[in-house]
């Protein structure tokens, strides 16, 4: 009969109208600034640099300025300058470090390829999304001070991945230590020159400061 389809449609809309008052499945709006959706753990938006120690972020960057991510970044938004000198990293090993590590977040598309190709677990995906600024040039160009975030923050946003990374790094470290020990033992067998004094490891990391979203450049 003419009109039966229309009446059926009217019934559907009426059902949704009434349902919006009692059925959460029919009222799906999340009123954003007041209510924020729980981000899934895998959520990714813009990379950050992992530091071992929150008190000395620039000294304990995991990044060794190998520039793999700079090369692999599809939109070419990473800019790295290597240091001329070497600094001890968190494990005490002397490493090159990035003097400049800039990410142009106006170009970055959060594709995560830098994270995947990084052999040092030094760059990871952040979860910031409220990054609006009034300056679209400088404020969106994040330097290494703005990018550096402590490992604890990484644990907060991606607990599973961070635990995996920590376990892997610990295993690597242990293997390296054992190797060093073996080497030292081998060296000790030879009455030769003394081994270089190991640099003291940083003390237990203090609790992290509240994670900062990268604000406008100071």
């Amino acid at each position: 009969m003419l009109g039966s389809g229309i009446l059926q449609g009217l019934a559907v809309t009426a059902k949704n109208f009434l349902g919006s008052y009692h059925d959460p499945a029919r009222y799906t709006t999340v009123e954003y600034p007041e209510v924020k959706q729980q981000l899934p753990e895998a959520f990714r938006n813009f990379p950050f640099l992992v530091t071992e120690n929150a008190t000395d972020p620039m000294g304990t960057l995991r990044c060794v300025a190998c520039q793999i991510c700079e090369k692999e970044c599809p939109p070419q938004c990473i800019f790295i300058e290597k240091s001329k000198d070497k600094k001890p990293d968190a494990n005490g090993k002397l490493q090159i470090y990035p003097v400049v590590f800039a990410i142009d977040t106006s170009v970055c598309m959060s594709c995560q390829i830098c994270v995947e190709v990084c052999p040092f677990d030094a760059i990871k995906m952040d979860q910031v999304y409220e990054i609006a600024t009034t300056d679209r040039f400088d404020a969106l160009l994040l330097n290494r001070e703005q990018l550096a975030k402590p490992n604890e923050y990484f644990h907060q946003i991606h607990p599973t991945e961070a635990a995996e990374v920590d376990a892997r790094l610990a295993a690597d470290r242990k293997a390296a230590e054992e190797k060093a020990k073996a080497a030292a033992a081998a060296k000790a067998a030879l009455p030769a020159k003394p081994a270089p004094a190991p640099v003291a490891k940083p003390a237990v990391v203090p609790p992290p400061t509240a994670p900062q979203s990268p604000g406008p450049a100071a």
Binding site: Q76, C77, F79, V99, V100, A102, D104, V107, D135, F137, D138, L141, N143, R144, E145, A217
Partner: protein
């Protein structure tokens, strides 16, 4: 489905005087292709479409490939037997030759009716500058209409017999063909400051010393 060799033989039998060669594909995909000459291209395409064994009724993909001319260094080894009876000497002769460039159009043909494919058809232009005309296959497969326009737009292949050969993705006043390997992008392209020195340098060159400093974009501070 017939192998490319079989198709080639049948095409050569059907079109005496035509040139058809099988281009061997070295990758594991083993999708070998047929390189046909431009003069018989459209007839052969029509034959492939209507042939009851092949029935390639769908031309799924049309694309251009740019092969710029390149210098090929060939090393020829000749073994010269040592007259003294010692180990034969190996003399390496290096010869350079310029392999002429061309533009290539690749058609991926499938049969919807017989559910097979792809048969890859290629045609090459004489060079990359003036002899860039190829027969249009739009009269054979309608799907070539926009795709050939795209190849014309981005590669600069002129299709003879195309009903409406205009630029499709770039604007009409655009001059170059951006998908060619030697395309140089204009220096005002993406002038905004980024951490990348070359883009910034290009931008500075194109927009020299702005008159009003207030209106000019601030240069980036790459260093912290």
């Amino acid at each position: 489905m017939e192998t490319p060799e079989q198709i080639r033989d049948r095409l050569l039998a059907r079109f005496p005087g035509a040139q058809v060669t099988v281009v061997v594909n070295g990758s594991p995909s083993a999708q070998h292709s047929l390189l046909v000459d431009a003069a018989h291209g459209r007839e052969m395409a029509g034959f492939l479409r209507d042939d009851p064994v092949l029935k390639l009724d769908q031309c799924s993909n049309v694309t251009g490939v740019d092969w710029p001319e390149k210098e090929v260094v060939e090393t020829r080894k000749t073994t010269v037997p040592d007259p003294a009876g010692g180990t034969p000497k190996i003399i390496e002769e290096k010869s350079k030759r310029i392999e002429p460039g061309c533009l290539e159009v690749v058609y991926h043909l499938f049969s919807v009716a017989l559910r097979h494919g792809p048969v890859v058809l290629r045609m090459r232009t004489g060079n990359r500058t003036d002899a860039v005309t190829l027969p249009s296959l739009t009269p054979v497969w309608r799907s070539c209409e926009f795709q050939e326009r795209e190849v014309f737009d981005l590669f600069g292949v002129k299709f003879d017999g195309h009903p409406d050969l205009r630029r499709i993705l770039m604007w009409d006043a655009f001059k170059d063909h951006p998908m060619r390997k030697d395309y140089v992008e204009p220096d005002d392209y993406e002038w905004e400051p980024t951490p990348h020195g070359d883009v910034l340098a290009k931008a500075k060159k194109h927009f020299p010393a702005p008159a009003a400093p207030a209106a000019a974009p601030t240069p980036p501070t790459a260093t912290a």
